[in-house]
């Protein structure tokens, strides 16, 4: 039990500390692919440290919700990072790693971010919050459908069971997961404010979604939000790994497999980050009103995955 708790703490801390590194790696790959000179891979850490050292400026009209939201968002993402199996399966928190609960945690963080954005009353905040809600109410059902496809295979909505079925039972190719993987990529670009749905580096009022919501934040609040954004990317990567490439995640109580599991995780994150940067480089940001179509396609692909499961795998 003690080792379990220790491993749980280790896994959560590893996720929280590694998340900015993943962000830095993606940014670096993107810069290389676009022919720019890349910022150092530790750049997100430096940004976060710099922001923590600054004094926070808060609008006069801000309510306590505005100050509270960054902590809430960070806590949600840290919790999500703790329950998604990244290196070890079946930890003390694992019973909480239900995919539906996970979608709920993401929704909670999103609601707080949107409320905080509207709290100040600037037009940009409201605009960003509305756009975020438009995107997310379309992305959420698609994400659930992706999870249900994986759940149908393993007969459970709990992530550890899904990982157990996919990674440690007999190796079987599941065609339905091919559909789910494409849908998952589409959803995760929308949820993480990446190209083609949103551009994380833009501050152009016509196109920004996520950036519009956090314009009013500064110093430690902004640092927490930036960190939470990096964590969210990490959690989504971990989810993608758990659903589609779970080989390497150590079985419950298998301490000898831990170093290998960490190495496997690092390798997969390196490859995944490079892949994300590549996909972002070759695709163009689409108009906001194309986003519903994009996410509708993701939803339909996930549904198609479920149908394929019934025709090919039962």
């Amino acid at each position: 039990m003690t080792t379990g708790i220790l491993l749980q703490v280790l896994q959560t801390l590893l996720a929280i500390l590694l998340a900015p590194l993943l962000m830095g790696w993606v940014n670096q790959c993107r810069a290389w692919l676009q022919g720019r000179s890349a910022p150092p891979i530790t750049q997100p850490y430096r940004v976060i440290r710099k922001l923590f050292h600054k004094d926070a400026v808060i609008a006069h009209d801000a309510s306590p919700l505005f100050r509270f939201a960054p902590y809430m968002i960070f806590a949600c993402m840290a919790l999500a990072a703790g329950i998604v199996p990244t290196i070890v399966n079946d930890l003390p928190f694992s019973p909480a790693a239900d995919v539906i609960a996970l979608v709920g945690i993401f929704a909670l963080a999103r609601v707080f971010l949107a409320l905080a954005a509207m709290d100040i009353g600037t037009s940009f905040g409201t605009l960003g919050a509305r756009r975020e809600m438009l995107i997310s109410f379309l992305a959420e059902p698609a994400l659930l459908m992706v999870f249900f496809t994986a759940s149908l295979i393993s007969q459970s909505t709990e992530l550890p069971v899904i990982v157990e079925t996919l990674a440690h039972k007999q190796f079987v190719i599941y065609p339905s997961l091919a559909f789910a993987a494409v849908a998952f990529w589409m959803v995760s670009t929308a949820e993480n404010a990446r190209i083609p749905v949103d551009n994380p580096t833009t501050h152009l009022e016509l196109t920004m979604i996520h950036e519009a919501m956090i314009l009013e934040y500064s110093a430690r609040h902004l640092a927490l939000i930036e960190w939470a954004v990096a964590l969210k990317l990490f959690v989504y990567s971990a989810l993608g790994i758990a659903l589609f490439l779970p080989w390497g995640i150590a079985q419950a109580g298998d301490l000898a497999a831990l170093p290998l599991a960490v190495l496997a995780l690092l390798g997969k994150l390196l490859a995944g980050g490079a892949g994300l940067a590549f996909l972002e480089t070759i695709s163009a940001k689409m108009r906001l009103f194309r986003a519903p179509e994009f996410l509708g396609t993701a939803f339909l692909l996930a549904v198609l995955g479920m149908l394929t499961h019934f025709i090919l795998e039962v």
Binding site: I173, F179, E293, G296, T297, V303, I311, L312
Partner: protein
């Protein structure tokens, strides 16, 4: 699941075929459509070759090679040349908007799966469960032909339909006799070239490749 790995790979390729059929439905650009068509041909050839290998049906190797030569190399190359010479690679809005088309596509897939279920239970081949997917790709390609008004996407839809039929033949009865396959391939090849010439004629007459203009044709 008691399926061997080769069959699992065939199933995966079948799913890819369906995935590409859906991607084609949502594709607006003609060059993107041609690329997807080439990928579909590749998936089809790979699955045919694997079925040939796992069942020892040697004539399927020939049809796999034929598929690669015709549908992955020759036709996409010809289409890209046509697109360049006709200068038509712009985004085109289909007649029904894309989300609706995709919804209809899902309904078609469910229909095809249901239709194929009793048939595939009677078929004696090991690949019978992919029959539903083959039928779904045929119907989706048909839907693409219906919803596009431009000439080139319609022809690509026709060819994608042929891909689906080919896959259905492979999965239901290990392919048609080689003579029939050669005949069909030749027909399709000639058809594409003839249609390619037609494109120029159509554009010369109407100044556009939109086939809606053809509805107004009248004998004088």
């Amino acid at each position: 699941m008691a399926l061997s790995y080769t069959l699992q790979v065939v199933n995966l390729l079948a799913a890819l075929l369906l995935l590409i059929a859906f991607a084609m439905l949502s594709q607006r650009r003609i060059a993107g459509l041609v690329t997807l068509f080439a990928w579909q041909g590749g998936a089809l050839a790979a699955s045919t070759a694997i079925v040939a290998w796992s069942t020892g049906q040697h004539h399927l190797y020939y049809s796999a090679v034929l598929t690669v030569v015709l549908k992955v190399v020759a036709m996409p190359w010809y289409f890209f040349r046509l697109i360049k010479r006709l200068d038509v690679d712009r985004e085109v809005e289909p007649m029904i908007n894309i989300p609706t088309t995709m919804l209809i596509g899902i309904v078609l897939v469910i229909f095809a799966f249901n239709l194929a279920l009793p048939i595939s239970q009677m078929a004696g081949t090991v690949t019978r469960s992919t029959l539903g997917i083959a039928m779904a790709s045929v119907l989706l390609a048909f839907l693409m032909m219906i919803t596009r008004s431009k000439a080139i996407p319609q022809v690509i839809g026709f060819l994608a339909m042929e891909n689906g039929l080919f896959f259905a033949a492979t999965s239901a009865s290990y392919g048609m006799p080689l003579v029939v396959e050669m005949g069909v391939a030749l027909d399709v090849l000639v058809g594409v070239f003839v249609l390619g010439i037609f494109f120029f004629q159509i554009r010369e007459t109407f100044d556009s490749l939109d086939l809606k203009h053809m509805e107004k044709l009248k004998e004088r």
